[in-house]
């Protein structure tokens, strides 16, 4: 049985500056597992995509001043050199998750999104699950196992 060796929870307002904040916090937190530069780069990228989606899509209909537009992040480290990252929002949710996950699908127009977010999370992490309820929000759960 794998054991949890450390755990972190973050709540950040869904605003642009927190893309970089979330990336830095998570990368600092996993440092004790001594990931390689490439593993850390993969994780940083996947986190950036998930957090950006909360900011760009989840709260697209709320005002920038909405105090309830938050990103909830929960990170766990296991003694098996595994990291799990759960990133959720209480935003608009996704009607059709399978379609949203298709490479190059984006629901946006004119803001230069290229629809690669889920593809990146899937390609650069070891597993990805996406759960969403329209009107309630979205939870993305990703795992990565660092090499021994």
């Amino acid at each position: 049985m794998k054991k949890i060796i450390n755990e972190m929870k973050l709540r950040l307002p869904a605003v642009g500056v927190n893309e970089a904040v979330a990336r830095s916090c998570i990368c600092a937190f996993v440092a004790e597992l001594n990931p390689t530069v490439e593993e850390l780069g993969d994780l940083r990228l996947a986190v950036s995509e998930a957090v950006t989606n909360c900011i760009v899509h989840a709260y697209r209909d709320s005002l920038p001043t909405d105090r309830n537009a938050n990103i909830y992040i929960s990170v766990r480290l296991y003694d098996s050199r595994e990291v799990s990252v759960e990133i959720s929002d209480n935003g608009c949710g996704i009607e059709d998750v399978a379609k949203a996950r298709e490479p190059m699908y984006t629901s946006t127009v004119g803001c230069e999104r290229c629809g690669m977010g889920f593809l990146v999370m899937e390609s650069f992490m070891d597993s990805l699950s996406v759960k969403s309820t329209p009107g309630k929000g979205t939870t993305v759960l990703m795992r990565k196992i660092f090499k021994p």
Partner: protein, 106 residues
């Protein structure tokens, strides 16, 4: 605040040297600086220099595709230079190297 992008022009080459982490938040600011310069100088080549970019997510890919379209409006081609191994990994996944009017020279 330090500049996100430094723009210079010489002999029909417009160079945008990017100086920050490239995500959704910074991409918007950067394109607002590059696009007016493209229309002002109407260069033959727009060089996007990634030498000082230590992180980029898919917003950067969107930025590159968008600049290729803007450059095409004035007949310019886009060249990417200075991409690190980390950035190349994302560039390869995106397949943007196949877009016409876009060249990747590391």
């Amino acid at each position: 605040m330090t500049e996100d992008v430094i723009i210079s022009e010489k002999d029909g080459r417009l160079t945008a040297a990017l100086k920050c982490e490239l995500d959704h938040c910074s991409a918007k600011r950067i394109r607002e600086k590059i696009d007016p310069a493209v229309f002002m100088y109407r260069p033959e080549t727009l060089v996007l220099d990634f030498t000082d970019v230590h992180f980029m997510d898919s917003s950067g890919i969107g930025l590159i595709i968008g600049r290729t379209e803007v450059a095409a409006e004035v007949g310019a081609a886009v060249r990417l230079v200075g991409l690190s191994d980390g950035l190349m990994k994302l560039v390869r996944l995106s397949g943007i190297e196949k877009i016409s009017g876009l060249a990747v020279t590391r």
